[in-house]
Structure formats: C-alpha cells, structure tokens
Subunit: 254 residues, 2 copies
C-alpha cells in the first residue's frame, strides 16, 4: 500500500509486532563517516541495514523492499536544510546514495504492551513525543549534535520492568538513556522537538530513549548537498517480528 501511494500516514500502531525503522540516505562520500557516527552512538542510532551505493534494495530487514518508495513519508535535506517532504523520492535518487535503516522505538512498544503496560502515545493517538537533550553524541568527522530522545511516561513501579523488557532489544534503542527529572538532561516537557504536548498522569515518571531522529539533527550539522530521511513518524515497516529482531540480525552478522 505504501509503495503504491495508497497509504501515506504515520506508522505508529501500524503492523503492530513488526519492527519499524528510521531511514537516513546519504551520498557515498558521507556514508563511511555516518557509519562511524552510528557505531559511536548505538543507543540513538542502532544500524539494522546499509544498502549498496546506488541500489535502494533491502536484503536484511525485508527481502527486495525499495527504500526510495516504501516509506509513507520522506524529508529531503539540501545542505542540511529540510527542503521537501514527499511520499516518493524516486526523482531524487542518485547512483551514489547509500541508505541506512536504523532501529526504531516503535519496535519495543508491542513488547511493552504485551507485558500489560500502556503506551501513552498510542492511547492518545499521537505519533510520539521527542525532545532535544543536552547530551551530545560522540561526534565523527562530519556528524555531531545532541541526542534526541523519545519520551513515554510509565508508573514509577513499572520502571524496572520497562528496563528489563527493552534490554532485550538493543537494536530498537535498547534500555532508556534516562528516567526522572527531565531538567537533568536539559529537557522541558512542554517544549517537544516534534509532536504535541504529552499527557503525564500523577505517579508517572517520564522515561527517555535515544531516538532515530537524532541523525536528522546530525545531518543538519554535516550539511551534505543531499540527504533524505523518513518524515517524522513515517517509518519503514520491516518483515521482521519484534520478538525475532536480535536473532534475525545475528544471522546476517555472525
């Protein structure tokens, strides 16, 4: 449906139980350095798959998907500035482009829900709350910038369970980077990086995860002539079930 253009909405709560992925497409000149940046910052940027230069086909997270057509929304950057949003980037495709599919926190929401936890952004039909923190990424030659974090509130007595479940999914951002007083990571909850204001009930604690939006900020800093990412909340939906993610990836990497 996405490839045919009949679905262009956000993917929050869509194909529940299947791993979703953030996307970053960069000219080959920047690709090796971006990989370095991602490896230095595995919590916000867990790499699931890199495509071959010029070839938009995926082989690991989905067989023969096309990253140029199979996301419901893209953001196109020129020299680090968002210049277009579109649902098909075929016209921007070049022979030197390399795609990076990056783990997404949507991929642990199902696991948390199966344990009886409420995912507030799904309850409230929001595509998620993200904040710019004051924690900097470990930089590479071209890429740097702050860690962007997604936030979900949970009751204080469920925090341990949240860490336990997400620790088994390092390629979906793994455990939180922090929970508790948001000001300690430079966050005001009423100033989201994107999205609406969150609803937090009494007795709940805000829990923060490294977010796949982080490389978008890094692309603004690196300012390559062309870069393409997913649009906020418009992820690549893989063929991999959440519960199979780590074993599936290990098959390709061993």
């Amino acid at each position: 449906m996405v490839r045919e253009g009949s679905y262009t909405g956000t993917t929050s709560g869509v194909c529940v139980g299947y791993v979703q992925a953030n996307l970053a497409i960069l000219p080959q000149k920047y690709a090796e350095d971006f990989l370095k940046y991602a490896q230095r910052n595995p919590k916000p940027c867990p790499i699931l798959e890199c495509t071959k230069p010029g070839d938009p086909t995926t082989h690991i997270v989905a067989k023969n998907a096309n990253i140029a057509t199979d996301l419901p929304g893209y953001r196109v950057y020129r020299n680090g500035v968002a210049a277009d949003t579109t649902s098909d980037i075929s016209k921007y495709w070049r022979d030197d482009l390399v795609g990076f599919l990056i783990g997404c926190s949507y991929s642990f929401e199902y696991a948390l829900m199966e344990a009886g936890l409420e995912i507030r952004c799904i309850t409230d039909k929001n595509f998620g709350w993200a904040y710019e923190t004051n924690i900097p990424c470990a930089p590479s030659k071209y890429f740097s910038g702050p860690v962007i974090a997604s936030m979900r509130p949970f009751p204080a007595d469920k925090i341990d369970l949240v860490y336990e479940i997400t620790s088994k999914l390092p390629h979906a951002h793994g455990t939180p980077i922090y929970h508790g007083d948001p000001s300690k990571i430079g966050v005001s909850l009423d100033k989201p990086y994107c999205g609406d204001l969150p609803r937090i009930e009494p007795g709940e604690v805000p829990v923060f995860w490294g977010c796949g939006v982080t490389p978008q900020r890094a692309i603004e800093f690196a300012a390559p002539d062309l870069a393409i990412t997913h649009d906020a909340g418009h992820m690549f939906i893989t063929d991999v079930r959440e519960s199979d993610l780590e074993t599936h990836l290990a098959k390709f990497w061993l």
Copy 2:
C-alpha cells in the same frame, strides 16, 4: 606486595598490560539495586565480577584474591560521606557485604600505547584526569548521579584509531562517550573532579570515557550506612591480560 602492605601507591602504569578494576562494596540490601544501576550504565560501570555476600574472595578476575586486603587504598563511606581512607578494610568487613569489581580505563591504556599513542597521564606521571559531566546516569531505586568521565588528550587525526581500539574492550569502558568541546558535556578542563590540571598540546582533542569513579558519586546519593570503594587511582590489579579480557569474561558468562 599490596596484600602485605608493602605497596600502597597508585596503580597507574603498574603491571602494564594487566586489567585493573574499580571496586564498590555495599551491604546486601543495596547489592541487587546497584547491579541494576550498573547494567543501566554499562559505559561508566561495566561489571567484571560480584562477590558472594560476606565472602571477599574473587573467582573470575583473579583466583582467590581478597578484595578486603588486595587493593593499595580504600575509601570508606558512612551514610554517603567519605569517612576514612585506609589500605586494609578487614576491620570494616561484615557478613552482608557484596563486592563489585568494575572495569577500569587503565585497562585500555596499554592497548592504545601498543598502537603508538601517548597516554598523557602516564607521560606526566599523573594518576588520571576525571571530570563530572552534566550527563546523568540512568537511575535505579537507590543509585543515581552524573557520569564522571576520565579524560585523555589525543591528536585530532588519531581519534578514529582511539575509538577503534577501545571498541574492542567494552568491559574497560569501551569507546569514549564524547570528544571535542568539553563545555558541551558541562566540563571545564580547569575544574577536575579529582587530580591535577591536565596538559593539552595544540592540535590535541580532549577525549572522555565513562569512569569507574561514577559509582562513588552514586554511593553519595544512595547513602548506605556503609560502603567501601577503591581510593582514587588505587585499583585492584587482576590476573587477566588486557588482550584476554573479553574472552576471559565470556568463559564465565556463557
């Protein structure tokens, strides 16, 4: 020599090539929560071994070493406040104490030197430079506080090599958490957490690693009735060679 009390100095540059470890000893009541805290913050707090309650004997990092006598310097905390420094904690030992041996950045210095890099704190006969950052640890029930980071300067064109080498030693703090402008992680180089002022030459970049002093700050926050750590720079020297660390640990954990 340490056990007999004939060596009570710092262990920087001592037994070069052998893994050294930070120490945290806590009452059993706090032990499970401390392990949780450490697992949530693996870069500053990579756990190498936990001892059994009441038994100071090590089995993994050294056969039959005694954590109550085999460090050249200890710091004793009462209710979160440093109350004593000593080279033998036998008189403080209790049946409910659990010891945690935590990876130490001294353990990657040899690997970096073998690659031809200068370790400034060794050149300058300093036991190391550490700074309190504005990055908070992911808290547990009792333990929280900022990440303390050790700093070593390296020439800008050697940074990639530094990441590459340290990526192979995750239990010695692994890759840096950051390099570059210290103010971005809330650090002024002229205000060390402990140690003297560092010497940084033109063209060098400060590189920061999660540091095993971090749990000492967390112990100040948790304020258990008794806690014992290594004294700054006075580490536990293990029987494990740096190059064997990861494979050695894997033998016990598989």
